[in-house]
Structures are given as C-alpha cells and as structure tokens.
Symmetry: D3
C-alpha cells in the first residue's frame, strides 16, 4: 500500500474507490460525485481549480491528495515554473512542515514526466 | 516500519509501546493508562466510545490510530453498514482529504475480516 | 459576529446560511444538503451520529460546529454524564489544546439548559 | 481585539505588524518580507496567487488570513461567482468544519462591498 | 466569553475549570492533573517546558493556550528577545497562518507587562 | 521513498533538497535559507531551538520533520531523559494521535544511537 510510484498509487486508488462505491452508502456516493463536480470548469477554469486543489492538499499535508492534483495540474498544462511557484506559496502559508510533502510532490511530478518521456520514446 | 498488514502494524505497535513504557517517564505511563481508561464502558458503551475514537482518528487523519480503532470497532460487533456510515460522516465533517485515509481504513477492515475467515477455515 | 450566546449564534448562522444558499452555486447547495442527510438515522442512530459529529468538531477545534452539535446532542436526549464522557475522550484523543474549546462547549451546554429552565418557568 | 468589522480588522493588523517589525528580530522581518514577495506576479498572476492564498486560509481555517485574502481577491477583480466557486471547493476539500469560516468570509466579503457602495455614494 | 483582556481570560478560564472539575468524571480530572504535572521541572527545566508549551500552542494555533503559556513564560523570566525568537521559529515551522495568532500573542504579552507596570506604580 | 531507515531518510532528503534548490524559484531558496537561520543560536541556544523544532514537529505530526529534529537534538547533546520528557509533553499537548508518531520518533532515536555504537565499534 505504501509503494509511492505513480502506477502503484493509481492502482490502489482505483481499487479502493471501486470497493467503497460498491457499497450502497448514498452519502459516500454523493460525496465522491460532488468531489468530481467541484473541479469542473465554471466561473473558474478547470486548471485554476486543480491549482486550488493542489494548494489545499499541500497546506493540509495530504500526500495522496497532492499526488492526484499534481497529475491533474500537469495534464492541464501547468508549467514547471507555475508548479514551483505554487509550492513556494504553500511553504509560506503552511510553513516548513510542508517541506517533506513538497519533496514527495516534486518526486511525483518528476516521475510522471519521466513516464511521459518513456511513453513518447516508444 | 511501513508495512501496512495487520500483523506488521500490531507487531511494531506492541514493540514500541513496550520500549516507551520501559522508560521511567511517569507522565508517559499515566498518559498511556488514561488512554486505556477513557475507552472503558461508563455512561457511554464501549462500542460507542470506539466509534467516537475512530471518528476522531479519521478527521485528524492518523492512519495508525484509524487501524487500531477499526480493529476495536470490529471486535465489538460493528457491522459493515455502521462502519461505512461512520466513514461517510467523517468525509462530510473532514472533507475530501479524508478519502485517502478512508481507502486505507477500508483496506485494513477487509484485511482483518480476511484474517478471521482464514482463521475459521482452519 | 462574536457574541457567543446561543441566540446570537443561531441568528448569525441562520442569516449567513440563507445568504450562502441564495447564490446559485450548485456545489455549495449540494454540500449543505449532504451535511444534513449524513446525520439522518440509518445503521447508526441519529443520536450516535450527533455524538460522532460533536467528537469530530471537538478534536478539530471548531467552536461553531461544537455549539451546533452540543445543541443537537442535548435535543436528542444526551445526558450530562454522556456529554462529559465524550468531552473526556476528546481530551485524550486531541490533547490539552481541546481544553479551551471544551470550556466554551460546557458554557454553551449550560446556556442552552438555562434557556430550557427559563422557558419552563414561564 | 475581536471586533470583526473590516475597519477594526485592518487597524489591529496594522498596529500589531508595526509592533512586531519594530523589534530587531531578523527572522521575523525576513518572514514578513517573504510573505509579501510570494504573492507578487510571476509565472502565476497576482490574482491566481491571492485565490491560492484564500484557498489555503480557508482549509486551514484561519479567519484573519481569510479576511485579508478576501479583500485582496476583491481588489484584484474576483467576481462573486468566482468567490463562491472557490468557497465551494474549500468545503469539498476541507469538509463541513469550513462552513463557520465560510459564513464569516461571506460576511466580510459583503462588508467590504458595502464599504465600496457607501464610498461611491458620497 | 470573547473579551481578550488578561483579566477576562483568567476569570473565564478559572470559572469553567471549576465547573468542569466539579463533575465526577475521573478521566477529565486525571487529564487536568497530568496537564499540570507535565510542566513540572525534571530533566528539562520548568522554563524550557513552558517555552515548549508555547511553541506547541503557536503552531497548533490555540489562542487561549498561547495566552496561558505567554503568561507562564513571562513569570519564569523569559526575556522579550527570547519570546520573539520563539515566535520567529513558530512562523517558520507553522507558516503565515501563525501570524494572526502571533499578533494576539504579542498583544497579550504587552498587556501583562502593562499590568505589571501599573501594579508597581501603585 | 518510504524506507524509514536513517540512511534512506537522509539520502532522499538530500536528493530532493538539491532538486528543489536547483530551480530558480527565489521564494523557495529564501524559505530554505530562513529555515536554517531560524535555528541558529541567539537569545535562545541552538539546543533549545532544536527542542522547540521537535516539539512543533511532534504536535503537527510531521514524521520527516520529527526525524530531522530528533537527529539534531541528539547531536546537540539531548539526553534520553530529556527526549522522553519532551515526548511526554507533546502527548499531553497534542493527545493520543501523537502516539504513532512518538513510536516512530523513538525507533528513529534508537536507530541513530545504534549507528553511533556501530561506528564506535569499528
């Protein structure tokens, strides 16, 4: 459960989400649904919302939430300069306790960009 | 230290509790003692107290505390429907940052129920 | 906004909830709706769910959430012994930083019971 | 210290910042300086950074930080629809414990817009 | 309940502690007792322990805990330079969300020193 | 990334710090710099500051921060009795959710002392 590669992260996430949504708990189903809808484009763009999601996850220090939003931000065209500026803001707001999570966030950012390079090389 | 199976969790917990209580720090000893007494049946039943302990652990996002209370709740007869209702409440109170901890909580719940099946099959 | 009497708390809460729900933000409306449904009786009773809501609010140290759940718990028949047992558990789980919130929780509990006495005296 | 009007908030903030920066503590001076620089336009716009600052403040439930960023967001042209979308995202990420802070955030948003109307009416 | 002067803080604290300890909840009584014993001189001096208590309270952003430990630190001879160094460390560890609490901590520090001056002038 | 031995911790920390500081983000560079300066001896000694850093890390439950400060405290001559007294204070302030982090803190403390014994035995 603790392997931190992108593949392991996605596989465990997918497996447990299915397990949780296979129960008939209506509040959980609706919460998951709301969690998706909240990031859809509206007055704020999808990219801005993912940046906000990443900011919230960083200052609350939730590694899996950070990994998820790092990948979404990257898919929506966030540049490395934008990513590191957001990280710097999270350090100022949340303090040095954000540092270990930022280390893992950067490692995850690098891992998914390495995946893309490997994929394009094929 | 990071193996998340129930056996590994219990073994490390037991080993370190013994190490900590082997020192002669009176405040730590009393804190551990109080941590046990607080869950004894009183005006509230033992089961209600374990549900409260699980709720507190989920919204504070403490994985090891969650694992411990998941096992206690299960031993005291908490049904899967009750467990998922408590989880749903923790999501509403604590937000989507609870989700990764809920995934691990459900994986732990499933692991200890699998242990029981394996045990009964013998 | 900071007057902590039950009347002032309820009035500001009611006024701002109406203001927030008067906007056409669908995610907010659904979140508020989910926040109500999550506490409805199911596998767990309404009272157990309010106790869980109070526990979550205490360890997360959210005074207004505490006040709300203190009132709900009281309405659903929570005794003073049960209330103080839940408080004691919140201290053990969340530590001495819970104490100032517990002081205000007890003051609020006493204030709503005083309201009931005054009402019955008329 | 607890009067929550925009004027009282700004006055106490200004007075105490001066008091704190009047000491010769270099780390504090640099931290305050960094806290200003982090919000300057770079790869991300000033407005996006203030939205991120507001998101961080909401999920960490820091009322004074929220008030500050609400005012900055408003000054930088954030619309009410954008503001409420950000609020809705903060509820989903941070849970119902964000609600009381959102109530005060909306009251502060309304108060500074009322100030602007009053000012323009003169 | 929200008046933030040292007198009001001490009076409410005293009144509610008596109310809470007047119940016969043994876990609460023992928790309060442990909370006193933990700060007694041992391998670490009383002053170091109060500095640690203030640090914990600042990064956990508990205003009443901060006020209490500010007064204890002051009584045990903490100088203004030491106090501001501890504050600066709390900003670095806990981030800019500590700032509003630091403002109130400094206001409280100044208020109790003003009390001492007034007392000595009599 | 999750191997919790002192060597693995130091290697990943060093590698990612270099990666982060290799970008030209000025705010991050200054934050890291401030994070070092804050712990330099001043009105408070270096050792007292590391104890404060460990206290902040424990109550905020940041395992990597805890490991770092445990090692610094040990290097600066913190005795086992002082270490356990600080741990006991962190339990009282932060509650039982500190326990799992304290277990890992003690395991790390023991691991670095074992390293020293092994080194001296050569």
């Amino acid at each position: 459960l603790t392997d931190s590669s992108p593949e392991a992260f996605r596989a465990f996430r997918e497996q447990m989400n299915q397990r949780i949504l296979s129960t008939d708990n209506l509040v959980l189903k609706r919460f998951y649904n709301l969690d998706s809808r909240a990031y859809e484009a509206g007055a704020l763009s999808e990219k801005t919302k993912e940046l906000l999601g990443l900011m919230g996850s960083l200052v609350l220090r939730c590694d899996d939430c950070i990994s998820y939003h790092v990948e979404q931000c990257s898919k929506l065209g966030t540049t490395e300069a934008e990513f590191f500026e957001l990280l710097s803001l999270a350090h100022v707001v949340g303090g040095s306790i954000v540092i270990p999570h930022a280390r893992r966030a950067v490692a995850f950012w690098d891992a998914i960009h390495q995946e893309n390079i490997t994929r394009n090389d094929r």
